[in-house]
């Protein structure tokens, strides 16, 4: 039985071939093998959300998925979301409203928020809070984060 396996996937649109240990989590693979250090490692058991990344269009915990499980998958990290401009308005709103202090949770927070906003419906503040309930922020108390996400939702919907 194999302890290391070859995987092929796309990360932020680029094709990647690597040999990985079966036990390596997706977030460690991204950070250590691909030097994509925007995805953060916090609790390593699925509680904090700092490692949130997008796999095949849906957000997942990077610490609760193995790299070998991503063979054939399309992975998008905060680097991809940032470079493509997909979350440019969210990033600006976070900055403007002080929705980050230390910034450790921010990549996961932006990735989670973008999944909610991408659905297109105008979320209520409660829905925003529910959607980011899996992402811990220890600095801001969340109000500014909810404000920023709500502002972008309104702006994208063309509302004042």
């Amino acid at each position: 039985m194999d302890h290391t396996l070859d995987i092929t996937l796309t990360v932020n649109g680029e094709r990647v071939n690597e040999r990985v240990e079966a036990r390596k989590t997706l977030v460690d693979f991204l950070r250590e093998d691909l030097a994509l250090t925007g995805s953060h490692v916090g609790c390593e058991h699925g509680v904090c959300g700092a490692c949130t990344v997008r796999v095949d269009g849906a957000i997942v915990r990077g610490c609760l998925m193995l790299a070998v499980q991503c063979d054939g998958a399309a992975v998008v990290t905060i680097e991809g979301l940032s470079d493509s401009g997909e979350v440019a308005d969210l990033q600006a709103a976070f900055e403007q409203r002080n929705a980050l202090q230390c910034g450790y949770c921010t990549p996961g927070m932006l990735t989670a928020a973008q999944e909610l906003l991408k659905r297109g419906a105008m979320p209520s503040r409660d829905e925003i809070r529910e959607h980011i309930s899996g992402n811990y922020c220890r600095c801001t108390g969340y109000h500014a984060i909810v404000d920023a996400i709500e502002a972008v939702a309104k702006a994208r919907a063309g509302r004042p």
Binding site: M1, H3, R23, D28, G49, L64, L66, A112, G134, N135
Partner: protein, 278 residues
């Protein structure tokens, strides 16, 4: 922490998964991994082999079969949450779904994994018990069907044999007179409950019959409270609260006494839901 080394194999069929389980005594099945990988990371579990069943066909999706709603083991929580079949025909499961984990967890976690893992504070095992559902398995001797009342044996212990693969769960299709109730108390939305309650009943005139109350977070398994069920069917909510024969142990979240009190709070809330028209 990081997992201890293990080997990885991707099963292409149920028979291959069953055979691999037979060849490797301490192998574990990997479905959504939302509990398993956390325990690997914390080295609470160190299997020699993970058998990934995500590539096995025919294990996901929700459909009506033989008067039951069948939910495939690999169905993701997020898919069940958005499913019209579940919303229409399994309203208790639909009510419970938003409480399970967080968005990123629900995108990945599976229905079968939640039942097979049998966390005593998890929502779905209690729903399965409250609905009088059943579990379908595939093992070396073929298929088996296990009733929910016989499935949860102890702390993280089920009626699954060492080579059994859980393939689906089935719950009765809700009729016009079916009532569902669900409530839980958690420190943070989406976390495991301090105490929770999944309930089903049939409307019988102005009263209720076939009341099934399954509490979670109060013991080693989801727990039915049959005395309280009988009293609640007679319409006496306060009597049912008094009849709760629960003896929850203390845990990191709350003392047993607090849990017992909260169970009564939840029963009052859920009784209200059960008595509302669907």
């Amino acid at each position: 922490m990081k997992p201890a080394p293990f080997a990885y194999a991707k099963a292409r069929s149920l028979d291959e998964a069953v055979a691999l389980l037979g060849e490797h005594e301490d192998a574990r099945l990997l479905a959504g991994g939302q509990s398993l990988i956390a325990t690997l990371n914390m080295r609470l579990s160190a299997p020699s082999l993970l058998i990934d069943i995500n590539g096995v066909g025919g294990l996901d999706g929700m459909a009506l079969k033989d008067g039951m709603v069948e939910i495939g083991a690999l169905t993701r929580h997020a898919a069940a949450e958005r499913s019209d079949v579940i919303a229409q025909h399994a309203p208790l499961v639909a009510r419970a779904m938003p409480h399970i984990g967080h968005a990123a967890i629900r995108n990945r976690g599976t229905i079968g994994g939640s039942i097979a893992f049998a966390d005593p504070a998890a929502e779905l095992p209690a729903c399965l018990l409250a609905l009088g559902g059943e579990v379908r398995t595939h093992g070396p001797k073929g298929k088996r069907t296990i009733k929910a009342d016989d499935f949860f044996k102890g702390l993280f212990e089920t009626a699954l044999g060492p080579q059994d693969v859980l393939t689906a769960i089935r719950v009765p299709v809700a009729g016009k007179d079916t009532r569902a109730g669900f409530a839980e108390l958690a420190r943070r939305h989406g976390d495991y409950a301090i105490v929770g309650l999944a309930a089903s009943a049939r409307a019988n005139g102005k009263g209720l019959s076939d009341v099934r109350l399954a509490f979670f977070g109060v013991g080693a398994t989801p727990v039915r409270t049959k005395k309280a069920e009988t009293v609640l069917a007679s319409g006496d909510v306060e009597g049912a609260v008094a009849a709760l024969d629960l003896d929850p142990p203390d845990d990191v979240q709350a003392t047993g006494a607090v849990k017992k009190h909260l169970a009564g709070v939840l029963l009052r809330r859920v009784a209200k839901q059960l008595m509302e028209a669907r």
